[in-house]
Subunit: 285 residues, 2 copies
């Protein structure tokens, strides 16, 4: 399928690896970039990969998403994705997989329609809410002692004592350390002897505080649910989604954001009438 | 499922709408934000939704993605997604859809493994490449005259004459105006009388120029393929993916980025061994 000339060019290109490196000055000149934006680029906020290479800058893109596979922890343990090859490079000259999965699988978004009858769906939810300053509440020490440790109002207030009031439009993230269990489905679901899951989440009071007293975009957890594992009333879901906010579950690597100014981007496909969906969650640190 | 108290809180909350608005000063104080980052926030680059409300700033998050549905233009017109309700709020108290689709459907990413036997897959592709300065090449005038208009080396050089050399790590985007045809599948695929699709794309020479002479992250098009519709050799695919770069197809709304400094974020789920996948493409203008 590939013309010999192009194939040769590509092969040579791959062998060579090196690329010309346009001057930083040209980058900053781009399309009338302002001085402020120039400074942002210098601080690594506009183009982290570029700036990192230049200046040993603090800037980095952190992957806050687990790999989406056919073997991962799910809330309903019978609801696993499936995948098959549609075409392969060997047989067809190109490669495509076909997936089947429920919208609440892997690192994924909960949007109001997931629990609220007339709630907004993901295809038309305001996209500006998917770019947010990150606030990470670290309850990992509590979670070692108690698998159903919760982010409480007091935890949020302690964060504010150290950092100031939650920024407007924040994504408030629970870091419980649960993401290190991801590869061990039983440990991640953590069923007790009665078959009830036990893992950390937000307290209902903290959810109410966040939607009543603060101006957030949403909340995120590194576990299977915004509510603790044994919840049967899903109060946190109803409070957050009922207020038109969103949740993210099964987030990874939040530890890398603790104590640092960071933005979180939620890259979720625009599933028509979607209740949420698997997404790429990215931290710009 | 919802406790009456929480339900009441939520109902009151929804009625009331208003939220306390933490001061801008508190946002800028967050976690040791630098002066440069402060300026970036002022220019709307850190938290566009926040800044827009404050200061009539230029900043905005542009949705560069079409809605992902069961009725959309596809390269293979027989390969359409399907969807079903797994549970609904009415019947079950919560709502989840289950989707089945090929990875190259809707606004989606092509990663090297799509055409290259040992190419990188999407789950482990370097995430920093998914944050890029956007460069939009406007060929919409040509595309009115010729449905197989191409982004040529000369088009790129004309952009550079006006704006300086392509920034390192750029996502070079073709704006042909084709996104306005999205709702009309026949017009988007634009088959001629012989059943051959006719739509714009990059020229093979432009693709070679970009991987040989410039340092790009990838390219994007507002049509079904990086190559023009009638291509049977997929030279642009082989050149871009063979060089370890990526492509994005069926991008929307690129017109909103023309002539403006902008970043593009590619939010693609981490499909295991994925050849790409449906994604949320976001422009930060």
């Amino acid at each position: 399928m590939c013309s010999p000339k192009i194939a040769q060019v590509v092969a040579e290109r791959i062998q060579r690896q090196g690329v010309p490196n346009p001057s930083r000055r040209n980058f900053l000149k781009l399309g009338g970039l302002t001085a402020a934006a120039g400074l942002a680029a210098g601080a690594g906020l506009l183009n982290p990969s570029r700036v990192r290479a230049d200046s040993h800058a603090m800037s980095e893109v952190v992957d806050l998403s687990h790999i989406f596979s056919t073997s991962l922890p799910t809330y309903d343990k019978t609801a696993l994705p499936s995948v098959q090859d549609v075409v392969t490079v060997q047989a067809n000259g190109y490669y495509i997989q076909q997936w089947t999965f429920g919208e609440h699988t892997g690192t994924h978004l909960d949007i109001p329609a997931h629990f609220i009858a007339d709630g907004e769906t993901v295809d038309n939810y305001a996209i500006s809410a998917f770019v947010s300053p990150a606030v990470v509440i670290d309850i990992s020490a509590k979670a070692v002692e108690d698998p159903e440790a919760m982010v409480t109002v007091e935890d949020i207030q302690a964060w504010e004592s150290a950092n100031g009031e939650l920024p407007a439009g924040a994504l408030v993230c629970m870091y419980s350390g649960w993401d290190t269990r991801w590869e061990d489905i039983a440990a991640f679901r953590n069923e007790d002897s009665g078959g009830v899951m036990r893992f950390p989440g937000f307290s209902p009071e903290a959810a109410t505080f966040l939607v009543e007293q603060r101006d957030i975009h949403g909340i995120a957890v590194d576990t299977l649910s915004l509510d603790i594992g044994s919840s049967s009333t899903f109060d946190v879901h109803f409070t957050i989604l009922g207020a038109g906010k969103y949740g993210i579950e099964n987030v990874a690597n939040l530890k890398a954001l603790i104590g640092k100014p960071a933005q979180v981007i939620v890259g979720v496909p625009r599933f028509a009438k979607g209740s949420g969906g698997p997404c790429r969650v990215m931290g710009l640190v």
